[in-house]
């Protein structure tokens, strides 16, 4: 226990002198880096705009309230599109991600030399690009619309579902696998009877969790032209229709909260 002697009595200290010096140096470095970063940001900022922000904010808020409720009636179709992008995207992602996960998991992969690195690469590449960027690229190729959004959602979700699922497969208990294999079962039968039952609850949880995230993401994909509520939002902001913007924001808020609630309920039920 680190102590110091002060006037003949030993006093308790939380850290030894060396440890507290190390901490002090770390703090110093972190502070210096932060100050440097802040200077960079500050140099690129028009401070008069920032000081003006509260007035601007109040102005926008003033135009947003009251929301033009009649506009909500036209949001049915975009809302449906948003839900479809998220749901169909998740379904496509599941179809692609499940085989990838089995290829990527150390204990089920048919070949650690080719299949596993390939599957891992697919998972990593999909995960490192945000769905907004996928959508930006896909809108250029496939044209604006729900399809681009669906595929963007799917491409991004493959990595997420694939990663969590292959980790779950690697964590399965190997005893049931050995038991089934010792009855003379083929590799496919071992997976069907020993691995799948073990990962099923995890899998359902992951899929629903990703669906929930996808709902949130698909509400904004329209900003880059991929359909759904975001498209309306972009148009409303472009037209400076702030009373419409507030209605759309509330719709997005409500959708996200409902999907989060559904996902929490389902995850609780399966685990």
């Amino acid at each position: 226990m680190p102590t110091v002697t002060q006037g003949g009595t030993r006093l308790w200290r939380r850290m030894s002198a060396e440890a507290s010096f190390k901490r002090w140096v770390l703090w110093l470095i972190a502070t210096a880096v932060f100050v440097w970063c802040w200077q960079k940001i500050s140099a690129g900022t028009e401070w008069s705009f920032v000081l003006d922000a509260p007035a601007q904010g109040a102005d926008i808020l003033d135009r947003m309230i009251p929301p033009e409720w009649g506009y909500a009636k036209t949001l049915g179709r975009p809302l449906w599109d948003t839900l479809n992008m998220a749901t169909l995207g998740t379904m496509i992602a599941v179809v692609i991600a499940v085989p990838l996960a089995f290829l990527a998991a150390q204990n089920t992969t048919p070949s650690g030399l080719f299949a596993r690195p390939f599957a891992l690469f697919c998972i990593v590449a999909s995960r490192s690009i945000n769905s907004v960027i996928w959508a930006l690229v896909l809108v250029l190729i496939l044209g604006p619309g729900v399809l681009s959004g669906t595929i963007a959602i799917a491409l991004r979700s493959v990595g997420f579902i694939g990663k969590l699922l292959y980790e779950a497969i690697e964590e399965t208990d190997r005893r049931p696998r050995d038991a089934i294999a010792s009855t003379g079962a083929s590799q496919g039968q071992v997976i069907a009877y020993a691995v799948v039952p073990q990962i099923m609850p995890v899998f359902a949880g992951i899929a629903v969790f990703r669906w929930d995230i996808n709902i949130r993401e698909s509400t904004i994909l329209g900003l880059v032209g991929a359909g759904g509520l975001g498209l309306q939002l972009n148009a409303a902001i472009g037209n400076l229709d702030w009373s419409h913007v507030s209605v759309i924001l509330l719709a997005i808020f409500a959708t996200v909260i409902v999907s989060e609630w559904v996902s929490a309920r389902v995850r609780k039920a399966v685990t």
Partner: protein, 270 residues
Amino acid sequence: MAEAAPLAVGRTWRRPPFIANARLRWLLWIGVAVYLAAALGTLDLNWQRMAQGLERGQRFVSGFLPPDFSSRGEAIFEGVLESLWMAFAATVVGIVLSIPIGVGGARNLVPQPVYAVCRSIMAVSRTLPEILVAILFVKLFGFGTFAGFMTLTFATVGYFGKLLAEDIESANQAPLEAMRASGATWLQRLNYAVQPLVMPRAIGIAIYRLDMNFRESAVIGIVGAGGIGATLNTAFDRYEYPSAAAILLVIIVIVLGSEYLSAYCRRLVR
């Protein structure tokens, strides 16, 4: 005995289904089928456009190749740096702000009203998608890194605060009790009983959030909030696809690098 006991011979074992309730299972399947029919029916796919798109996609992909790192090299480098310091500053400020909010969101440390206020701040911050916040902040603060910095800070508060609050709530309560018994003030309890317990995980979360903020900075730049995303958007707007491909590759490499680095740092802390 009227009936003979059922013989095991001749019966086959069937795997128990995942959803034990047969009615629920069938209802779910029917629901999925109906939904799929409705969704695909309204998708209004334009096959002609897609066929065009494939051809166009080919041209587009070939337009991307080879990635051109040099002609916009300086802008890419600037963009990456901008993203990095934006992410770092936002993480620092976000965490400083979220510590009081996180502590206030821990049920075992504060009275009910404080708890409710702090939890609702976190809920709002986590529910709003970052790109929406970015649009709003760009309108408020003007284009550039400051709007991006504010967006990432806002997002960090919700994320870090929530995880911190949950950590405090689930940490071992015995030291807290012991400190209270020794007559320690609230601040002393926080400093000596709570902080040492949650610190290692909090540092891990902070590193992870830095990583996340960098990734997000690539996206919010598209709506004008500075960083590598802004560079990417400029490249798309100017139809400089080889440069855009280069930027995408740079983003992938940095995201991967930062992910491994953050995983390594977190393991180091733990």
